[in-house]
């Protein structure tokens, strides 16, 4: 098993060299497919082997652990120099301060600090199992999609940009490797190394096009993530100074053993802070929105399977140490607030990718809130959300990317009547959207469990606030998704044209759709055989989170959502009906699209969605949201830090 894990982590890093050096488009594509295939097979194989072995938690050291330790150290320093160089080049010196601080402190401790006992550095448990499947399967599908997309991106749409596809595809593999390393690491030093790699890689991916906007946004992402890295550096230093360990699980056990001692809570607070930055919670949401300038595959990668999931992964790990204490309250409040604020903001934007970005932030907010609560039900809900969100969001991004390549716009308003022009794309989009919010799908199950757990949360203020956040947040979530859906179904205003989507893009998207449906149908199984042992691992008890009765109801609803419209469709297909034009006060110019204006000429009738700019607009809500969330974080951090000294 150790060898397999090592292979899983190292393989993508090494394979990244291939697309980087091969510049022939066809041959490179072949190697990317091959690499993605190997990553997928390797991750599934590892996961399945572990599952068949009985699913026991494995603690182990990597083979040649000493050597890897040195590599991590050298790698950290290298990343620091690299960032400092870039910061110097683009005159953003403040960033170099962040990276130097966050790298020098842990490295110094590692070199000259007290010698730590030789402990295990890696852990393989149920959470890791889920994470490697998500990264391996979703990630490599995005890799496959990227080949086709980037071809269209450079050849058809952005001829003015330098073609750096080799670099792009290589970076995707680096990302896989870093994510695999991250979810296996138990030792904070290796966790920190992989953490920094994802920060830097995402920075490079966001800045891919080298336009001014891209560079600005990429630096924004960098400084926010480095700030989080500083939090992690503090946690490591605290481990060296006070606890004589830098093992994540030791930290958690210590905090659990004496929940009232702020000294043990401090590293947890710092790690949680780092995770909040990475999962793009308010006030750090800016970087994820800025990441939209990058080509679609990188958005899909950052938003669904990797990067933001690294943040929530760490929070799920920490959750038992956060139950009903200050850190947990901070995380829950930030998460709940983000859920509501981001979903309000999503109402006011019409750029498809931006809607997706806000919805990602909002969904992550719900997950983060679940972890902050720290109960079994919420972890159950959080893990479900992670899985469903990864699949549907990756699918949605790919679909919007394909639509943009085909119709030349990603504005929701321009997608009117997509169902009748590009039914395949529209269908995928509909499934993805349905997966994000509709009743029987993932979100509902999770929301049900989360709401129940929040009511039971011990702190009165947090509990009441969280319930309100969830209730209002669900309402606003419903609003922006439904209006998008209704736009797709509306009457088409544009001419039919050729679908420019490549076969490899379709392969990836259809695979996602199948996966989503399979997940929905398989959710009772998933709950029984994966989530139960997971909560047994974390909480030591196995409780039926959702009653048997409710599982049946959900299955009924689920079947209802598919079967009822389908049966009705079949039954009404041959209904005799006289076709009429829609009512426009009798002024239609012969069809549903145009009307006779007061001058007697036909004019096009334009139908647009509500965006509520003056009520929910970015200008109005964004800054207050940042201020409120900053306030929450600062207050709780002061409480924890003050208590520790």
């Amino acid at each position: 098993m150790e060898t397999l894990v090592t292979a899983l982590i190292c393989f993508p890093f090494l394979w990244a060299i291939l697309p980087a050096v091969i510049h022939n488009s066809k041959r490179r594509a072949f190697f990317v497919y091959l690499g993605c295939g190997i990553v997928m097979v390797l991750s599934v194989f590892t996961a399945v082997r572990w599952y068949l072995d009985g699913g026991q938690t494995l603690n182990f050291r990597l083979p040649y652990q000493e050597m890897f330790g040195h590599i991590f150290l050298v790698g950290d320093v290298f990343l620091m120099c690299f960032i400092t160089y870039l910061a110097y080049k683009y005159k953003k010196l403040i960033i170099s301060v962040l990276t130097i601080v966050s790298t020098v402190i842990p490295s110094a401790f590692e070199l000259v600090g007290p010698k730590l006992p030789n402990n295990y550095t890696m852990r393989f448990d149920w959470l890791t199992f889920i994470m490697i499947l998500i990264i391996g399967v979703i990630g490599s599908l995005i890799g496959v999609y990227a080949v086709g997309y980037m071809h269209g991106y450079h050849i058809h749409h952005h001829k003015e940009l330098p073609d750096r596809r080799s670099f792009f595809l290589a970076m995707i593999f680096v990302f896989f490797g870093a994510m695999f390393g991250l979810v296996f690491s138990a030792n904070l030093l290796s966790l920190y190394f992989f953490w920094e790699i994802t920060s830097v890689t995402s920075f490079l991916l966001i800045g891919y096009t080298h336009t001014d906007e891209a560079i600005n946004n990429s630096f924004k992402a960098l400084w926010m993530n480095l700030l989080g890295g500083c939090g992690m550096a503090v946690a490591i230093s605290v481990g060296y100074l006070w606890f004589n360990t830098v093992n994540l699980f030791d930290f958690i056990d210590l905090a659990k053993a004496s929940p009232d001692n702020m000294r043990y809570l401090l590293p947890i607070a710092m790690l949680a802070f780092a995770a909040l930055t990475k999962s793009a919670q308010f006030p750090f949401s800016g970087w994820l929105l800025g990441a939209m300038v990058a080509p679609t595959p990188s958005s899909a990668l950052l938003h669904s399977a990797t990067m933001v999931k690294a943040g929530v992964y760490l929070l799920i790990r920490l959750t038992t140490a956060m139950a009903d204490n200050y850190v947990g309250n901070m995380v829950a409040l930030i998460g709940g607030f983000t859920f509501l604020a981001a979903s309000c903001l999503a109402i006011s934007v019409s750029d498809g990718k931006k809607v997706l970005a806000y919805s990602t932030i909002s969904n992550l907010g719900l997950i983060v809130a679940c972890t902050g609560c720290g109960y079994e039900e919420t972890i159950w809900a959080a893990v479900f959300l992670v899985i469903f969100h990864a699949v549907s969001k990756s699918m949605l991004f790919q679909c919007v990317g394909a639509i943009e390549n085909t119709i030349g716009s990603r504005d929701v308003e321009d997608m009117q009547g997509l169902m009748s022009i590009f039914p395949k794309l529209a269908f995928i989009l509909m499934i993805g959207i349905a997966g994000m919010f509709l009743a029987p799908f993932g979100m509902l199950i999770s929301k049900w469990a989360a709401l129940k757990a929040f009511i039971d949360t011990r702190s009165v203020y947090v509990s009441s606030l969280m319930v309100l956040f969830i209730c209002f947040g669900s309402a606003t979530t419903m609003f922006y998704w439904t209006k998008w859906m209704s736009k797709i179904l509306g009457a088409a205003t544009r001419e039919k044209s050729r679908d420019l989507t490549k076969w490899n893009e379709y392969t990836s998207m259809f695979f996602h759709a199948v996966l989503l449906v399979a997940l929905i149908l398989g959710f009772p199984w998933l709950s029984e055989h994966v989530l139960k042992p997971l909560s047994n691992d974390m909480f030591g008890v196995v409780k039926q989170v959702i009653s048997y009765q409710n599982i049946i109801i959900m299955i009924v609803l689920l079947v209802g959502v598919f079967v009822i419209p389908y049966v009705n469709y079949l039954m009404t297909k041959n209904t005799k009906a006289k076709q009429v034009i829609t009512y426009m006060g009798g002024a239609n110019a012969g069809d549903n699209m145009n009307f006779i204006s007061s001058t007697g000429e036909a004019k096009e009738m334009h139908v647009a969605n509500f965006y509520m700019e003056e009520l929910m607009g970015e200008k109005r809500l964004f800054t207050p949201a940042i201020m409120i969330s900053t306030f929450i974080i600062i207050v709780y951090q002061i409480i924890v830090i003050g208590g520790a000294f």
Partner: protein
């Protein structure tokens, strides 16, 4: 037993009129005349309407509009022309832009004379229209069976 005549919904279209008849039509819905006691609802939507009530004459501007609205009403339907203008064109008949009464574009079933038509006579026309509505519904049902 058909009860279709107990639910006649009404669509009021104001053609080229002096608005006198329109006021009288609205008067029918007030407490004094209360046309709703017959189940009449003054709907604003041809798709939901059973009785098309036209006041005022037809000019070249509204000709197409009246025709379109008539087409958007589902069968069975009844058309009532209220007021002299809707019946014949009235005092505007000789104007350069006037085509004449409502029956120049669509088939009119019931004519309610008057300038302006009194609410009592409008209600009388509507009640006659309701009777006709029932007959038409039965004829339609019979033709569908056949």
């Amino acid at each position: 037993m058909s009860t279709i005549h107990k639910s006649p919904w009404l669509l009021h279209y104001d053609g080229s009129s002096c608005n006198g008849c329109d006021i009288e039509v609205l008067a029918c819905t007030t407490p004094v005349y209360d046309v709703e006691r017959f189940g009449v609802i003054n709907t604003g939507n041809p798709m939901h309407a059973d009785i098309f009530l036209i006041t005022g004459g037809i000019n070249s501007q509204n000709e197409a509009v009246v025709k379109q609205i008539y087409d958007q009403m589902p069968q069975p339907k009844v058309v009532i022309a209220v007021g002299t203008c809707a019946c014949t064109g009235g005092i505007f008949k000789e104007c350069y832009n006037i085509k004449g009464g409502a029956d120049t574009v669509i088939p009119v079933d019931i004519y309610v004379p008057g300038c302006a038509a009194r609410p009592e006579s409008i209600i009388d026309g509507v009640v006659k229209g309701i009777g006709l509505f029932k007959e038409k519904a039965e004829a339609l049902a019979a033709s569908q069976k056949a």
